[in-house]
């Protein structure tokens, strides 16, 4: 079976839906498909809490936002992309407002903004502390208005189809029936989100397994800057559930086992008293960027000033001084989550937290239009790397990125779709038959072996945590490269207990594991080759930033053996590399 559309979105999260609506609005005659392995409103955008950045208030300026973003990214951002992003952000956020997003408001009815880490002024729009949830549902519900959007809910894409030198769609499994079909499109946009599940301890949901990155990688498209992985400094131990940065934006403080605000020891400025009207000071202390805060945790741990818990060491995030009323109004979800999953009420007790894998700065290499090196293939959202996040994303830039580049990529893909001929039906069907055979051969043949998905996944998680954590070293990265090779070899012997078609979640877990191994490989090799420290990539054996050799994007290409790592210049327009300063400005 083959179904034809003009544009196919793989992913129904924030990026995919924004792209779909952008196309539907610009050209109601185009047929749009949104393919998603879960119902769109289950996409992990739903979990984002803190907010989305865009300049809207008079005391702020675009220039400020640009500078914060570039410095936050340790000068690894492409500056043309950042400039476009910051300029377009307010429009996109207002568009969300017009679609009904329940932004929190000031008494006069204008949207409210809050401070966020690494930003020099409050510019983060929020809907209490369920911003991603409200944005995703607003987008999803708005998409229902357009009847030229066809949804493929619970369809799992497995492969990008390339024919005649261009991407012509994907093969996908309809989960309920188990059948494999072609969803053909003149243009295809990957919006499959991040890959946090490669790591054992992450804020990411079960679906964030890097599928789109791996599919593009296999289709010959490079993955860019994969070594940059963001640890969020405040996750709940055990579950990895995120306690949003907004908790610190509202004035929460970080304490070590002695109740000391240890961040002052790490070049992040001097603490102000919590009663001081100027607390919290932007871009200082608790409002420093995430990479620096997570690194500070590791240092505290080494000094044995952290607090042991049943899930490793923690520090305390204290928001008690905000008082019950403010917590309930601005951070109700933080309270709900702490009560349910940590068994403490943050109104009365500090919250135990530790750094947790949160976000992939890298992803499918695209230009400023979201186009990849493969004609007809586009990417947007967390799976893509345009790159505005550089070596360290600033909190609350990502949700805005979904909108800005979701829309732009959607429009670019639509233009492309209007120019190319229809898909090559026959060869796509042949390719699908091959994919069908591959899956049957790899997973359904009897007596393949004895490897279990679970144990391979666990070993992958462990090796990634040891080598690609907050601090890395050449030695451990090399071991991990070998380990991943080994796991890939062993993957061939994986044996599924479930040989059936309908909703075979064991099969999808296996396919996801296969995707993750590819992405993990790209991460480990890119990290190994980058012999400098920058942003979230900290090499204990190369502690300095090295602009001369590494002010460049890493580009990982898949080959038959190990990945090939190449480099591409960072686009610098007006903001030459400088020192990242926190806690000292002004």
């Amino acid at each position: 079976m083959i179904t034809n559309h003009d544009i196919v979105m793989i992913g129904g999260g924030g990026a995919g839906l924004r792209a779909a609506i952008a196309i539907a609005e610009t050209n109601p005659n185009l047929s749009i498909a949104v393919v998603s392995k879960v119902y769109p409103m289950r996409s992990h955008t739903v979990a984002a809490e803190g907010g989305a950045a865009a300049v809207i208030k008079d005391n702020d300026s675009l220039e400020n936002h640009i500078h914060d973003t570039i410095a936050g990214g340790d000068w690894m951002c492409d500056q043309d992309a950042v400039e476009y992003f910051v300029n377009e952000a307010p429009r996109e956020m207002i568009q969300m407002e017009h679609w009904g997003c329940p932004w929190s408001r000031e008494p006069d009815g204008t949207v409210a903004v809050r401070p966020f880490g690494g930003m020099n002024i409050e510019r983060t729009w929020f809907a209490a502390d369920k911003t991603g949830f409200h944005m995703l549902h607003t987008l999803f519900q708005t998409s229902l208005k357009h009847n030229n959007i066809t949804r493929y809910d619970e369809w799992f894409a497995t492969k990008i189809l390339v024919e005649n030198g261009r991407c012509q769609g994907v093969t996908a499994i309809e989960l309920r029936s188990g059948k494999i079909e072609v969803i053909a499109g003149k243009a295809t946009i990957m919006c499959t989100g991040g890959a946090g599940r490669i790591f054992p301890f992450t804020t990411n949901g079960a679906i964030k397994t890097g599928d789109g990155m791996a599919m593009a990688y296999r289709a010959g498209v490079p993955l860019k800057d994969m070594e940059f992985i963001q640890y969020h400094p405040t996750g709940l131990p055990g579950t990895g559930i995120l306690i949003t940065e907004a908790a610190r934006g509202e004035g929460g403080i970080m304490l070590n086992k002695d109740g000391y605000r240890y961040l002052q020891d790490y070049d992040l400025g001097k603490p102000l008293d919590i009663d001081d009207p100027s607390h919290p000071v932007k871009k200082s202390m608790e409002l420093g960027p995430r990479d620096r805060l997570s690194q500070a945790f590791v240092a505290e741990r080494e000094k044995e000033r952290t607090i042991p818990s049943s899930y490793g060491h923690v520090v305390h995030l204290d928001i008690r001084h905000l008082g019950e009323k403010k917590i309930d109004k601005k951070l109700p979800f933080v309270r709900e989550l702490s009560k349910n999953y940590a068994g403490i009420d943050p109104v009365y007790e500090p919250i135990p937290v530790r750094p947790v894998v949160h976000y992939m700065m890298g992803g499918i290499d695209t230009d400023i239009n979201g186009a990849t090196s493969l004609p007809g293939l586009y990417a947007a959202g967390e799976c893509a790397c345009v790159s505005i996040n550089g070596a360290n994303r600033l909190g609350s830039n990502s949700l805005t990125e979904l909108l800005v580049f979701g829309a732009r990529t959607g429009k670019a893909a639509a233009r492309f779709a209007l120019e190319v001929p229809h898909p090559d039906k026959n060869s796509l069907e042949l390719q699908t038959a091959d994919e069908q055979k591959r899956i049957t051969r790899n997973f359904f043949r009897k007596g393949r072996g004895t490897e279990r998905i679970f144990s391979l996944r666990k070993e992958m998680n462990e090796t990634m945590e040891t080598s690609a954590g907050i601090y890395r070293s050449g030695k451990s990265l090399k071991e991990t490269c070998d380990k991943i090779k080994e796991l890939k070899d062993r993957f061939v012997n994986i044996d599924l207990e479930d040989k059936s078609l309908n909703f075979n979640t064991e099969l999808t877990s296996a396919l996801e594991l296969e995707f993750m191994l590819d992405v993990a490989e790209a991460i480990a090799y890119s990290a190994l080759k980058r012999t400098e420290s920058r942003g979230s990539h900290q090499r204990s054996d190369f502690p300095e930033r090295d602009d001369e050799n590494f002010l460049k994007h890493s580009m990982a290409y898949q080959t038959n053996t190990k990945p090939h790592i190449d480099y591409k210049d960072v686009i610098i327009t007006k903001w030459p590399p400088g020192e990242r300063v926190y806690g000292k400005e002004k």
């Binding site: 079976m1 066809t150 949804r151 493929y152 309809e174 309920r176 029936s177 059948k179 079909e181 309908n502």
Partner: protein
């Protein structure tokens, strides 16, 4: 959307569903209070009818109120009607969702208003029927 109908399993939903969980049982009791409400209204109607039949007939009727069966029926009816009253007032805040600025007026307060009104009305009715 190309979604083929496939064999799904439809679980039976027995007509005795309301016995399966306590909230459902309570719901059913709440619904059945209406029978006692109507029953008592018919009693009132008979009461008025007897009034139109003259003092003797009416007098016999009032005497019959003292019979144990009448008293027993009244007690049962009272239990159900009180259950009706309580559940009814407790649900009022779901219908009357009131705000003061940003804050929702607490549900207990809304229900409380009805309870207070109930007391007042009851006293007035009692005074009116019994006294004056």
């Amino acid at each position: 959307m190309g979604k083929k109908e496939m064999s799904t399993y439809h679980r039976p939903f027995p007509n005795t569903w309301w016995l399966k969980r306590k909230p459902y049982v309570l719901f059913m009791i709440r619904e059945l209070t209406s029978v006692f409400v109507a029953g008592y209204c018919i009693f009132l109607l008979v009461f008025v009818y007897k009034l139109t039949q003259g003092a003797d007939v009416y007098g016999n009727f009032i005497d019959a109120l003292k019979s144990p069966s009448s008293v027993a029926l009244h007690f049962i009816a009272l239990a159900f009607v009180l259950y009706h009253t309580i559940t009814w007032f407790n649900l009022t805040p779901k219908i009357l969702v009131l705000y003061k600025g940003e804050e929702r007026i607490p549900q207990g307060l809304v229900a409380g208003m009805f309870y207070a009104g109930w007391v007042v009305v009851s006293v007035i009715v009692a005074l009116f029927v019994l006294g004056m």
